[in-house]
Symmetry: C2
Subunit: 316 residues, 2 copies
């Protein structure tokens, strides 16, 4: 039987957990746990794997470091910082997954990270409505200065201080889709589009980096479409999608159709910036022809991929 292709979108907790400081050792230990789940998918012999991941804490650290050294080292814009996190996180994942595959006699499977740009529309309405907080906290005075000198959009973040906000545009196409497709066809395991990809716009055929953050699940969906994946597996910190979350009649969903999912979204069942974009990515994938999308937790990832756990989303 021919192997099917799955794009696995890892949540933030797959790399760094709340309350951790962010040392390389901590991140490597988390990644090792994550890769044990990923290795099970590979070792089943049924799946070709493309892996994508978030980069929130890592890009946050780079922005803090840039800020601290800005008198001596020119800070880079966010597209360049995103590229750095793709290198860093990709390195951890490819090293760790290779290690586990080697322990299981499959160290021969080619495996690495591809630096990935994701094309967004320069007329995306998100560019006139920045919404995604990034980087360090500032005082009101500092925030005003950043706004005046650098043109940043800033907002106050729930009493914790002021932060920069950037647009979160919709992904349109993975710039390196042919490059990644060659690898998938040849059964290599690919880490791609980390942190939602490096956001770029197309201007007269040129790709130009923009200061924005693409939602990593929506970017993962685009990646899944562009490489012709059969399944999109979105991992988060809950085992299933819930209806009436936190209420007396809270209910776990084993499965839903795209139609049902859209209905629930209209009802406002899913938290914005959290479960909502995951469900939206799942719907988009199956409506674009994907066989199945799955939302589950890291701990149940390989069972969810096999249809034995998580919430399964199908076209109809």
């Amino acid at each position: 039987m021919d192997k099917k292709t799955v794009v696995v979108a890892l949540g933030g907790n797959a790399i760094l957990q709340r309350g951790q400081k962010g040392t390389l050792e901590e991140q490597q230990a988390n990644v090792r746990g994550t890769c044990e789940q990923l290795a099970r998918m590979v070792l089943s012999g049924r799946w070709k794997l493309v892996i994508t991941h978030g980069n929130g804490p890592q890009i946050g650290s780079i922005l803090l470091q840039q800020e601290a050294a800005k008198q001596t080292v020119p800070p880079m814009p966010m597209d360049a910082c995103g590229a750095q996190t793709q290198g860093l996180i990709g390195y951890m994942i490819q090293q760790s997954l290779h290690e586990i595959l080697s322990e299981n006699g499959r160290g021969d499977i080619p495996l690495a990270t591809v630096v990935t740009q994701v094309i967004v529309d320069k007329d995306d309405p998100a560019f006139s409505d920045p919404s995604k907080p990034v980087g360090p906290f500032y005082t009101a005075e500092e925030a005003q200065e950043m706004h005046d000198q650098l043109g940043w959009d800033v907002v106050e973040d729930a009493g914790r201080g002021w932060r920069r906000i950037v647009p979160s545009p919709d992904p349109v196409r993975i710039a390196e889709k042919d490059f990644i497709s060659i690898l998938v066809k040849n059964r290599a395991i690919v880490v791609a589009s980390g942190g939602g990809g490096i956001p770029v716009t197309e201007e007269d055929g040129r790709l130009v980096g923009v200061e924005a953050v693409i939602d990593k699940d929506l970017a993962g969906e685009q990646l899944a479409e562009d490489v012709g994946a059969h399944v999109l597996l979105i991992l988060t910190d809950v085992p299933q999608v819930k209806l009436n979350y936190g209420k007396a009649d809270e209910q776990d969903l084993d499965s839903m159709t795209a139609e049902q999912a859209k209905h629930y979204m209209e009802e406002g069942q899913f938290a914005r910036g959290s479960m909502e974009p995951k469900v939206r990515a799942a719907v988009r994938f199956v409506e674009a022809g994907g066989e199945r999308a799955v939302i589950s937790s890291l701990a149940q990832a390989s069972d969810a991929l096999e249809g034995r756990a998580g919430t399964q989303i199908v076209a109809s």
Copy 2:
């Protein structure tokens, strides 16, 4: 005629020039000029391209930023910093080269960066004789503190202050060679092994990052061997290798055999840490079966590749 494969090793000046501050704009402008040379090789229709590059100034900036923010953000070891620079520099190269190829009607060629680990021998004598200065300058007191607290090896650098020194071991194998080979076979352009690769040792089948810097030309040579390249093209800031450099009888070399090159090296003709490792990489490549190695300047890169400029090194 089947295309031949060339590994092009870019010198530091291809990305950042002396005296520049290191803004993204400066680096992008330099990279654009570099990619114009690279594009000529691709557009000739005769070459499949693998590109590698240094990362000295970029890893230096990251080390400064880490130092400045170390009270709030845990600094990463050098292997992780190297991975970050691969993402950053790879992003600039793939974006810029794609742009020029698109302008010339060849935007269809798949092109991206592969995060690359380079395996070194943990018993390499370099580990007991660190020699490569990295990162910021310190006062004698700070350097002593780094030595005592972190175990760093430190040296005084010609009156400019104290610096950390790390080992510069020999590359043994490109960990991602099969992954990169798939891409080369399928005529994708690959940026790989940036900054000499992320140095790792093999321990019980595991890859473990080490605090070291691999010479980027020697790593490029290993990459060329591992992907079965025909030509290794090493670019620097002089058009040809010279004998009796800076003396009255200075002489440009159009070509030399491996035998001659080794003789010149024994005579001490080439500066350590500068031209010497380039000549050593060239000799190693042709002795391992490579057709030809070439050392030239960025400005003459595509002519040198065609044998019309630079210093050509052949086995005999």
